[in-house]
Subunit: 352 residues, 2 copies
């Protein structure tokens, strides 16, 4: 079988439709020819199922591979992913993202594609604004969105990316009998009275006991409780009791991401979740969905990291976050503040 390299395609004759498309779903049949992408052609060349001709000369694998890499951006990455998927037994076609992948046992014409695959190199930072259109495109046609990342040694990692809407079972805390008094000391807030400390800690797991009497609240916890009207916070530097706006400004000067974190924190609390610091996991929050009683704190289900809409993912950093979350049996979520609410992106490693 012979194909001709024409720009970024390889064209083969009518015979190829029968021998390559009908038996292995390579390429797209045209009127009286078969059109192959460069990665399809390279894979067929490697499998000795196709010779490729340029200027009336048959190319060696090395020549074709080098030539293809010049003609198509990220050809070598796409080839690695395509070859891997084919060798795992999937039929693969080019698509809106890099590839459409058919479910096991399915093929073009029989079943619809199951997944959209988007190929990236670990070296190339991935803007959220590049990722989201692929996620949305897949979601609109109910496909699974898969990110295939090629590392410097050409090893592959597959991630599934999806929007989720996590909810929990913890009721929003109600005001206690009296307004709870607390003090902002540098970068944390202290509740001094034992009854107050217990009320906050027992009704929603706020804060952490400093000792058997006193409780420390984080800045986001304090802001949330201040906004609900449960506490007042004395600033130990000035003696004033700031309102929520002034407190937010103060907190932002201590923690530059404060407003972004607070927005996600409040959204999760309002949805019945209990977010606590994720410091030990290197994320903003670890989040409990079933925290009903203090005596029986369950396993936290999510790690949540807030990112801005213009966030650029450094893929080694993302890889580490997801790997760590999965190694402690949690889901890794990225929380993004949109105009009319929060969006949570769940990114998890998958085996194809």
């Amino acid at each position: 079988m012979i194909g001709k390299l024409m720009q970024d395609r390889v064209l083969s004759g009518k015979k190829a439709v029968n021998e390559l498309y009908r038996t292995g779903y390579y390429g797209r049949p045209k009127e009286d020819s078969l059109e192959l992408t460069l990665v399809e052609a390279a894979y067929l060349l490697y499998k000795n199922k196709l010779d490729i001709e340029l200027d009336n000369r048959i190319l060696e694998f090395e020549e074709f591979f080098t030539e293809a890499a010049k003609r198509q951006q990220y050809f070598e990455l796409k080839y690695i992913v395509y070859k891997d998927l084919r060798e795992r037994g999937f039929y693969v076609q080019s698509g809106v993202t890099d590839f459409r992948v058919y479910p096991r046992g399915g093929h073009p014409g029989k079943a619809p594609a199951k997944s959209f695959v988007y190929v990236r190199s670990e070296r190339i930072p991935m803007p959220l604004t590049d990722l989201l259109p692929s996620v949305n495109a897949a979601e609109n046609v109910r496909k699974q969105m898969i990110l295939a990342i090629v590392d410097e040694e050409s090893d592959l990692t597959y991630y599934e990316v999806k929007k989720v809407n996590p909810k929990g079972k913890t009721d929003v805390i109600r005001p206690a009998g009296d307004l709870i008094r607390s003090t902002l000391l540098k970068d944390r807030v202290l509740v001094w009275q034992a009854a107050h400390a217990q009320y906050l800690h027992r009704n929603g797991f706020y804060g952490k006991p400093l000792d058997d009497e006193r409780l420390q609240l984080s800045l986001v916890e304090s802001a949330y409780l201040l906004n609900l009207g449960l506490i007042r916070i004395q600033n130990s530097d000035t003696g004033n009791d700031p309102g929520i706006d002034e407190f937010s400004l103060l907190a932002s000067s201590i923690e530059p991401d404060f407003l972004r974190k607070y927005r996600a924190y409040a959204d999760m609390r309002n949805g019945g979740l209990v977010p606590k610091t994720g410091f030990k996991f290197g994320t903003h929050f670890r989040v409990y969905a079933d925290a009903v009683s203090l005596e029986k704190i369950p396993h936290s289900e999510y790690l949540v990291h807030t990112v801005a809409v213009d966030h650029v993912f450094m893929l080694p950093v993302m890889s580490r976050a997801v790997r760590l979350a999965n190694s402690v049996r949690k889901r890794m979520l990225y929380a993004i503040g949109e105009r009319d609410g929060m969006m949570y992106l769940d990114i998890g490693r998958i085996k194809m």
Copy 2:
């Protein structure tokens, strides 16, 4: 027992030497008084073993705590760590770093201190140039160096930091019969001939097979082999065969950290270790110490991340790296290029 708050100390009388120092090793005995740090005094106040007087008035815990936080930087962090260590049964004294901690069963006058503890907030970036003097100070007197990190919820994580000198059992690769030909295609290098590919892969686990014939090398692997005189690399863009200097420049344009990575890579290879990409773990390398045969690749022992001498640790990021390494039973090492060689800092979580 009464102590007087004087600047950043609390002074108590001779009786305190007997009742506080001799029984619990609080403070430092002076001629006829006992000098307590603010954290010691706060802890004794909390334990109802000391009243603290300022301007002829006894202070409430809340008053003293707020006052101390104004008088000493990071008082509230140090208090949390001090209290935790005392309650775990350790005797603690102030020292060159924040605290000196005595071994279990030991106390001042009986045994030398075992550890130096350095307290940091997760919020405050930690320059390597701040950490290293503490590591060196501890090492010079053969103490364990412990980093105690307080997160936003006042939870504590302890890390041991030490210099290590990892070595492995893999011999440095020798030249094959002939010079191995390869091609730089964008950001990876391909070895085309099966015999060459096998030679490199079998003698030191270089590269990753693209298929049963061809091998892909990463940039650091290629530079190392080029420098050893084993391979020549054709640049597919120009047709030239760059030397090591030109290749390093090219590689640096693809990967900004290339030279730093290459220096650590070459040092580890020369020390018998096998570094492979650590992408899946979010670090520069995963490193094998016992990689002797391709048929029996062992568990990799280290994750290694190279950092510059002016590196500033973001503690949530460091926490994640260490946590992930430990969760997959590896040690997390930071590789730092010094004037006369590489230094490896091992940072691991410990339970006190």
